[in-house]
Symmetry: C2
Subunit: 292 residues, 2 copies
């Protein structure tokens, strides 16, 4: 197999949803726009729709024949890109599994285990290396540096520098900037989740990322924004595998966010800095507590 047609399958599934809401599909370029794929893929989808008797397709006429059924969808396992599969598989090994710092990482073995070619694994490791958790010995293996206390401290040190700088930029944004609207939406979501915290505390992780990314983006600095990828991936997997006191921790973080948001809104640099520091300090504690 040269390439998995995951782009096709994922777009096919999303196109089924479009189909469910209309009686005839739009033009090929328009569909491509909506689905974020090329016309080649759109045409492949339409062809398959026709085979499945979901539509009739004659040039510009694409008439919906029936609603999609659950079994019309491709299973979600088949729509994940190879890169996502490798990432998940790898992160499980190093964050959840008992992976010792200093351990060797073997491209071939990893590839065999995941059931994929070495090239993909290799490219993943190269991309992943910028997160500072692994290191390459040229002409030889990779070394796992490990998700250690030092790693967490180094990560949060830079995070704090960057976020303080970003928060300072944020308060200086003109009122007309779209970030303020996004901030309001985020704030509203905080209130919603807090009002039903027992059931919805799991939504925090995603909201947390959305909020901090918004703050970082106001730095208008690609290095600061890109760095947030590292924080993001670490916290993402950290939340997934460390669920002790999740409800309580998340509730506290939500409250801190609200104070932080209010401080940003005040346009008062001093207040924003304080609120930011307070939140980052407790975020760091939370992260450190989860490391043995």
């Amino acid at each position: 197999m040269a390439k998995q047609n995951t782009v096709f399958k994922d777009a096919y599934n999303r196109c089924l949803k479009v189909l469910a809401e209309t009686s005839s599909l739009p033009s090929e370029p328009e569909l491509g726009q909506v689905l974020g794929v090329s016309r080649t893929t759109v045409r492949a989808i339409l062809g398959r729709f026709e085979e499945a008797k979901l539509i009739t397709w004659d040039k510009r006429k694409k008439i919906v024949l029936r609603q999609p059924r659950p079994d019309d969808y491709f299973p979600t396992e088949e729509t994940d890109s190879l890169a996502e599969i490798i990432e998940r598989s790898f992160m499980r090994r190093i964050l959840a599994g008992g992976a010792e710092p200093g351990m060797q990482i073997n491209e071939l073995e990893l590839a065999r285990e995941i059931g994929t070619g070495t090239t993909s694994v290799r490219e993943f490791l190269i991309r992943f290396s910028r997160f500072g958790l692994i290191e390459k010995r040229p002409n030889s293996h990779w070394i796992l540096k490990g998700f250690t206390r030092e790693f967490a401290l180094e990560l949060t040190e830079v995070r704090e520098m960057f976020e303080l700088r970003s928060a300072a930029s944020f308060v200086a944004l003109p009122d007309s900037h779209s970030a303020w609207q996004e901030l309001s939406r985020i704030e509203a979501l905080h209130h919603e989740i807090l009002a039903d915290i027992d059931n919805r505390y799991k939504e925090f992780s995603e909201l947390d990322e959305r909020f901090h990314l918004l703050v970082h983006k106001s730095s208008s600095n690609r290095f600061i924004v890109d760095f947030y990828d590292i924080i993001s991936i670490v916290f993402h997997y950290h939340y997934q595998w460390n669920k002790t006191n999740a409800r309580q921790r998340n509730a506290r973080a939500l409250e801190e966010h609200l104070a932080y948001i209010e401080a940003l809104r005040s346009h008062d640099a001093k207040r924003a800095e304080e609120a930011c520091r307070r939140h980052l300090r407790s975020a760091r504690e939370t992260l450190l507590q989860s490391i043995p």
Copy 2:
């Protein structure tokens, strides 16, 4: 060709220098240690030495027969790794050539031009993407973001944050730390070059990197140290292709370094910060002036 034997050729050349200074070579593991290669490569080198009648080799006895001649060495073009070749070729295109921001980068075309396989180019681009100069459109081409004024400003903003933080760590290092000795060696080199500036100003680039890397390392933060790679590569190529007033610029930077070094030695955080700021400000100016 599956793999260029550049490791062998480079180690061979370096081994010729070892051979020139002795009448019999040490054991295979020891040679491997010295050259930084595996025993397999050492044995390949010894075998070739024997063929070239440079030594006789019988188990532990490796007796030198004659001194190496210039034509015993492999030409330097053949000892560069593929990654180095691709990097140079690519940097020439984007920094020196008239590469417009927004331009598409085509893996296949780049590979053809450099005369190499696509895999190597692809891996290079992935590694290079962390420098923030290119960006990938999934399933499609890369986009050149360009060595623009914004890029330089974003780079220097982070650089200043990191270097100020590092300088603050530096002054707090205990006197017993090896960084102080390295600092002295670097300082001495500054004086040497300044004393003969007209002939030796070109050595500045390398010394500059050595000095700032030393400072960054005292942060003990992998993200700060790794970030210096970006600064390093940008300044490296910048120095190569922008030689207007090089002598004068370098002389000034050397003087600033000396003041900065003295301030670090004083263990006075305030003084170090001021000297650091002063130097970084002029480094930024220099970089900005070279961008249209």
